[in-house]
């Protein structure tokens, strides 16, 4: 044992605590970073849920309506003073005298859609003119907020959206058991509306469905075809190299640029209609194609060469090998990649905004050529609206969107686990 050696060991002994401490610090930093990322995810989800769950129910008011024949004439249907009928029937519940202005204020508890609901009922069943019927209609947005405790009763009256009289009025109705908060089917079954209490996602859901369908019809065959060619048949030359570079670059082009492409080419040059899910789907297809190509190539690569060689050995042609043996074995991987690509396309907003899918449209599209919104653009519209009620609707719409994404990703994981083969 020489003197140097002893020094080294002593050196190590002396410095080891410090070095171990450094290691603990590094580990701690890593753990902190991961916890930070998790925290952000949790905050994101909690804030969305806590703001969105309010839109899961919708405050309704139930009251008896006397369908006054003086105001609604059988011959004049579907016209008539439905608003007046509702006013009179509702104010019958108020004890004490009221000035006209106060009456008009109190009637604002009803959603603007109530008169149309009554109209539809009367038109469908004219015998009820002159009778008393029970009507359950949504309340307007401020009262909805009030019943969900989103309007603080302690704020001074001048800063509140509802004054003291209105709150008292609402409370007296609530005491009579006329106020209920059922599940908000309107959120899914109604199309968009100017009034938050009536606005729903039907148009957006159908628009997204059409856009995704177009996207799938275009990108799935094209993507698989391109991937098979590049992976199985293309000889390595300048042409196939050019295609590969192109695909890699397309995968990284910002989505808004695809929107510009769709706007200039599909709408400007080809003359396709604005705001149509068809155009949106085409733009999304161009964005999704690189994803599908990359996933398909990976899946094809994972099929072992022995399969190909065996098939070739018994006399199959190149294409018979690929389409008869390799492609079926690669299909689970391809489908997984496709579903993930479609999930991305479902959440994509920017290109849809540029082609005008953020229009205000109050009916669901019948065909892919009709004007429509999509789920993410609807969220954008609602989050841009000043009414409070739209904020919780936007959060609820986000929860619906995330629900779809989660389902699609779960499906992809399930497919992968169920059909994935190890060779």
């Amino acid at each position: 044992m020489n003197i140097d050696n002893i020094n080294t060991i002593e050196l190590v002994k002396r410095t080891l605590p410090r070095r171990n401490r450094n290691q603990v610090i590094l580990k701690g930093l890593g753990v902190t970073a991961i916890i930070f990322a998790f925290m952000m995810l949790v905050i994101l989800i909690v804030s969305l849920v806590s703001s969105g769950y309010k839109a899961i129910t919708q405050t309704h008011i139930e009251f008896t309506v006397f369908v006054d024949p003086n105001k609604i004439n059988l011959e004049k249907l579907p016209r008539g003073n439905f608003r007046g009928v509702l006013q009179d029937s509702l104010l019958a519940y108020y004890e004490g005298g009221l000035a006209n202005r106060e009456k008009q204020q109190l009637v604002k508890i009803l959603s603007n859609g109530a008169q149309f609901e009554l109209r539809d009922k009367v038109v469908a069943n004219p015998q009820i003119i002159g009778e008393k019927i029970t009507l359950i209609v949504p309340t307007s947005d401020p009262y909805d907020q009030l019943s969900k405790d989103l309007i603080d009763r302690d704020t001074p009256e001048e800063f509140r959206r509802l004054n003291n009289d209105e709150i008292q009025w609402f409370d007296s109705l609530a005491e009579k058991g006329m106020i209920s908060k059922p599940f908000n089917w309107g959120l899914i079954l109604n199309a968009d509306s100017r009034f938050p209490e009536l606005a729903g996602l039907k148009g957006a859901l159908i628009g997204s469905f059409w856009a995704l369908l177009v996207c799938f019809i275009i990108s799935f065959p094209l993507g698989i075809g391109a991937a098979i060619y590049l992976e199985e048949f293309a000889t390595k030359n300048r042409f196939s190299n050019l295609i590969e570079v192109n695909i890699n670059n397309l995968a990284a082009v910002p989505s808004v640029v695809f929107g510009l492409l769709a706007l200039a080419v599909f709408i400007g040059w080809f003359g396709l209609p604005r705001s149509a899910p068809l155009v949106g789907g085409m733009a999304l297809a161009l964005m999704t194609m690189p994803t599908i190509i990359i996933a398909t190539r990976a899946a094809l690569k994972a099929v072992p060469p022995s399969i190909r060689e065996a098939a070739l050995g018994v006399g199959a042609s190149q294409q018979q090998v690929v389409f008869g043996h390799v492609l079926p074995l690669a299909m689970p991987g391809i489908l997984t990649g496709t579903i993930i690509g479609l999930a991305q396309a479902l959440g994509e907003t920017a290109p849809l905004l540029l082609i005008g899918m953020n229009a205000f449209i109050t009916s669901a599209p019948g065909t892919p050529l009709d004007s429509s919104t999509a789920l993410p653009t609807q969220i954008f519209i609602w989050s841009d609206s000043p009414e409070r009620g739209f904020v919780s609707r936007a959060s609820a719409a986000i929860l619906v969107l995330l629900g779809f994404l989660l389902t699609m990703n779960a499906l992809a994981v399930y497919l992968r686990n169920k059909f994935e083969r190890t060779w």
């Binding site: 580990k27 890593g30 190509i293 540029l354």
Partner: protein, 458 residues
């Protein structure tokens, strides 16, 4: 009617397939040998019918309306369009189109109604004619295909040749997409530069695109210098990187070197969720939670925070980029050969020293490539900034201030009216061009670095 054409082509193609398959089977039953199995005779008919007829329908759809409108404007409308500018012409045509679609506003002149009626008539006739053409062509092709079911006909080889060309066509779509992007950007941008000098755009320090659309409108003079917009983009990108790079690096280092397989198996997918959340959700999160939080925090410590502070948009974008950087770093660290790690540990280095002094330096090129890709993502990211960043271009480097970005300007300029002869609209394409070029250069550079580095160790 066009839907009917699509249905017809599918029906005829399957019928052709069925007929050829049947006849091939019966030929074989008669004891004649065919070179290919019956299926390929069927497929040959399928492709022979499907491809040309489908192409015909697509070309027809694209050309039908422009041709009809051209014809109408040169015959019926000629006298009314004589002394009109291009914009007025477009307006008249649009009005006629909407009358034809039963959306009548006010009381249009009789000649417009006539033109609309003619338009509807032509369209109906054209659709009918399309269906007839599709039927005749399909039947002819079925007969041609049927006549090929013969002893010497090599159906398989023919089908395989068609399939090869189809696959090549699929691959070429990628090239056409790139060409489409470049063509649309270049065309619109060059139109923009014919209205606004290119030097003003590239070197101007003012961005005020709200120019008057009509002549009597009161609006700003209009200035199209992209520098403040680009600087705003860089400020937000810098904030995003300031959050995502340290967090992403640290979490990757931990997951790669210190975490056991259980923690890894749980943590990685959860981190990936952050990458899978749509950007519109992040944008909403920014305005719902992050901006108010920053503002109230600023109030408590007495700093003035703008309502659309770049911190909020950048910070949320940073969260989005964490998994991106983390997974690139993780890949880069895993790609370092095991021998380097083992060698370092064998010399007595602690795992943290191995990480910091051996693995990390060796992985730097891959990590830098990943960070560059994250930069290009941050520059091109749209929804977060559209929702959370400002609209007014301000030449500032202060992240507490409100700045705007290239993508925000593109979206705000193109939402609403889009007439293609207005510098306001065209400016969006010029910005898109710059965005495309900048991200393209960064991407190519990053991919080069990543690839080169992989080659060293492979």
């Amino acid at each position: 009617m066009t839907t009917l054409a699509f249905v017809l082509v599918i029906v005829f193609a399957s019928a052709g397939c069925f007929i050829n398959h049947r006849s091939a089977v019966s030929v074989r039953n008669r004891g004649i040998k065919l070179t290919s199995i019956s299926l390929y005779h069927g497929l040959f008919s399928l492709f022979l019918v499907f491809i040309p007829v489908l192409l015909l329908i697509l070309v027809w759809i694209v050309l039908q309306n422009p041709l009809i409108e051209l014809y109408i404007s040169q015959t019926l409308l000629q006298e009314h369009l004589l002394n009109t500018s291009k914009g007025e012409k477009d307006l008249i045509l649009a009005e006629i189109r909407s009358i034809a679609g039963d959306r009548i506003f006010g009381e249009p002149e009789t000649w417009k109604l006539n033109a609309a009626a003619a338009l509807v008539g032509f369209q109906e006739n054209a659709s009918r004619f399309l269906v007839v053409t599709v039927t005749i062509l399909s039947l002819a092709l079925i007969i041609v295909a049927r006549s090929r079911v013969k002893e010497k006909f090599k159906a398989r080889q023919n089908v395989e040749r068609i399939v090869s060309w189809l696959m090549i066509a699929c691959s070429v779509v990628a090239i056409f997409t790139t060409i489409g992007i470049i063509a649309s950007l270049v065309v619109e941008t060059s139109r923009f530069f014919s209205l606004v000098p290119i030097t003003d755009f590239l070197f101007g320090l003012n961005w005020e695109p709200q120019i008057p659309i009509r002549e009597d409108q009161v609006a700003a003079e209009g200035a199209f210098g992209w520098i403040p917009v680009f600087v705003g983009t860089l400020v937000i990108t810098a904030v995003a990187l300031f959050i995502s790079v340290p967090i992403g690096l640290m979490s990757a280092v931990y997951l790669n070197e210190f975490a056991n397989s259980k923690i890894r198996a749980v943590s990685k997918p959860i981190l990936e969720i952050l990458a899978g959340v749509p950007t519109i959700v992040y944008g909403f999160f920014a305005i719902l939670v992050v901006t108010p939080a920053f503002r109230s925090f600023g109030n408590t410590i007495g700093v003035d925070v703008a309502p659309n502070t770049a911190l909020a948009a950048g910070g949320v974008m940073g969260i989005m980029l964490i998994p991106f950087i983390s997974s690139f770093t993780d890949d880069a660290l895993s790609a370092v050969p095991k021998s380097l790690r083992d060698g370092s540990l064998a010399l007595g280095a602690t795992p943290s020293e191995t990480m910091l002094k051996v693995l990390f330096p060796a992985a730097i090129p891959g990590i830098v490539g990943g960070i560059l890709l994250a930069v290009s993502r941050a520059i091109g990211e749209t929804m977060i900034v559209v929702m959370a960043a400002g609209l007014i271009a301000k030449l500032t480097l202060n992240p507490l201030d409100s700045v705007t970005t290239v993508t925000v300007q593109i979206v705000t300029l193109l939402i609403g009216d889009t007439s293609f002869d207005n510098p306001k609209t065209l400016a969006a394409f010029a910005l898109g061009m710059m965005l495309f070029l900048v991200t393209l250069v960064i991407n190519i550079f990053a991919l080069r670095i990543v690839q080169k580095y992989r080659e060293i160790y492979d």
